[in-house]
Amino acid sequence: MQVSIYRFIPDSDSEPRMQDYEYDLPDDRDLMVLEVLENLKAQDPSIGYRRSCREGVCGSDGMNINGQNGLACKTPVSEAVSRDRLVLRPLPGLPVIRDLIVDMSQFYRQYERVEPFLTNDNPRPAQERLQSQEDREKLDGLYECILCACCTTSCPSFWWNPDKFLGPAALLQSYRFLADSRDTATEERLSKLDDPFSVFRCRGVMNCVNACPKDLNPTRAINEIRTLLIKNGT
């Protein structure tokens, strides 16, 4: 198999290039893309990428694998490879620091904007803020996001307005707190979303749903936010 990797080392490269490597896949088992990368890095230590848990929990190794955003540690080579070729690029739409490593500051700024923490102005209870099982179930499909940025960097609206459109990951987290029965800042949260960009730049392309390695549905969450905005504003 041929592995083509996006290479850019700012200290020595004037512009990015693709570097090809030959890789012999084992016959007896399937590999994850991350394993291929690790083996290649053993041959060429200059290849740069992020990784940590290697089991789809930390979200560090998000990258563009044969044109599709995903986690290298959760993507089997057999599913990703096309015509015996594996093409690895950094997540699109964010500045490249080096090789497959992107600067995620803009992504985190948008995450910060939605104030991803519980806000409750009621007196603090003695032990904890309780929630019914039904209310807790409303958070399923929302809290599992690992902030890998695969969804947000596959979204054309984020590519066009990364500083104004919150992006699918931040909006999923925004709805996670809007849907939380213990949060009392719903009005304030919604008032910060009622501009032409933050939420309403979502065109329902659903690249985010396609890219999410945790099988979450940010488009549904965005539609729920829109519904809340309509209920709140009309």
């Binding site: 609206s157 590519w159 066009w160 307005n161 990364p162 500083d163 104004k164 979303l193 009622d194 501009d195 032409p196 960009f197 933050s198 939420v199 309403f200 730049r201 829109r226 905005l229 309509i230 504003g233 009309t234």
Partner: protein
Amino acid sequence: MVVNATSFSRSGLTDFLLQRVTAVVLGLYALCIIGFLVANPDVDQIRWVRYMTSPVMLVFGTLTILSFAVHAWIGMWTVGTDYLSEHKMGKYASLVRLLYQGFVVLVVFTYLLIGLGVLWRLPAIFL
């Protein structure tokens, strides 16, 4: 940075709702025209003018032309702020966007004036 100063209502929700309501008005008007033509395959100029100059169709036509102007501006503003941003065009983006928006305003306003002029002069010309 792209700002909201030239958006139709400066509210995402209002723009979102207006775009959908005006789309419904445009769709209903198109259905009225198509429905009339389907129901009257042998239509002649007299019947067509009588239909188009009826008070209901004059008011509906006016509403449709206004809806077109609102719908077009919101849509074209959105397209412009998507594609003509600093991220894509650098430091000249604001100037290019201003020129683009000025051109769109001119075209929409021209359509608005001509549309209303044609619609409301019909009774005077034909009746």
